[in-house]
Symmetry: C2
Amino acid sequence: MSNEIARRGILLVLSSPSGGGKSSIGRALRVTDPNLDLSISLTTRPPRESEVDGKDYHFVSDARFDEAVQGGELIEHAVVFGARYGTPRAPVEAALAAGRDLLFDIDWQGTRQLRAALPGDVVSVFILPPSLAELERRLRARHADDEATVWSRMDKAAAEIAHWDEYDYVVVNRDFDLAVASVRAILAAERLRRTRQTGLASFVSALLA
Amino acid sequence: MSNEIARRGILLVLSSPSGGGKSSIGRALRVTDPNLDLSISLTTRPPRESEVDGKDYHFVSDARFDEAVQGGELIEHAVVFGARYGTPRAPVEAALAAGRDLLFDIDWQGTRQLRAALPGDVVSVFILPPSLAELERRLRARHADDEATVWSRMDKAAAEIAHWDEYDYVVVNRDFDLAVASVRAILAAERLRRTRQTGLASFVSALLA
């Protein structure tokens, strides 16, 4: 709408242990929200069967990743499950300036670095599973993961969950639709924060003129 | 629900100039939200025709108001349009501890004092009119206000609006339903703030046990 107040974009971080629901929730949000794009990370891990280069990740070599780090092209980068992940800087800065929001599916390490780099722009949400039994059930329902992967991810889940208290918001994913609605409300509210609505001062000036 | 995480209540402040929509929005919120009560202020002004003592306000004498101030019964108090208004302390403390939310229809002076008294518990929203012409139209549509009152309120509106930048959130009330949905999202999001969900630490401990 032409009468909307100009605002700065939001970097919306969803973190959870594998199987916690961050990716499904993120997809559901983006389906209904034309102003929310996915931040596409660089990674050195090989693509899964369903993944598309440039859509899910930018799949790169170790050498290319090194180059991106050294050239200052990444806002944050971390090693997860032995593979390297990083967030390109240029799309983030473009989104913030244009008032577009970016969704980040990153872990606590990446969240820490992103917050350190752009503290006022990050809104972080931790998705908790209702129980570890439910988390295991969800991991097993994923055909892509073999038994060893399930156990490895269960081991890592506890370590990831231990960082829940570094996040702005916490959503317990008992019911998928409710969890999506919760994150949607968080995004809607954060868009209304005074400090984010950069066009308010001039709107009020015009109002009182 | 019995599996909800215990949390501290929220003191939700809606401020706007007269005719800005804070009271109508507050009513619409409370109709659909069983966890949101109205904070009932003490006031020394006489009741309007439609107002009920103990429901809209506690209508009291100047002497009783003095007594409440001196007895420390009020969290904040201010003079508006020559009448005194104050917020009783006991219901606020009970609501915060029980995880119930309280809605405050107070001006910027009251908001400042409430925030100073309970900084972590206040969520403040300023409702802006889309234009002063629209504000005047809304004030004239109120049969309770005579011409002199309309002009007096229009004079005060600019002074109230000047304090928009002391609020956490700002909502422009162009469309009533949209404004209600916006404040509803703010309340839903704030309920999910980590720092407000006091039961999370024990929930996570049980999860990982």
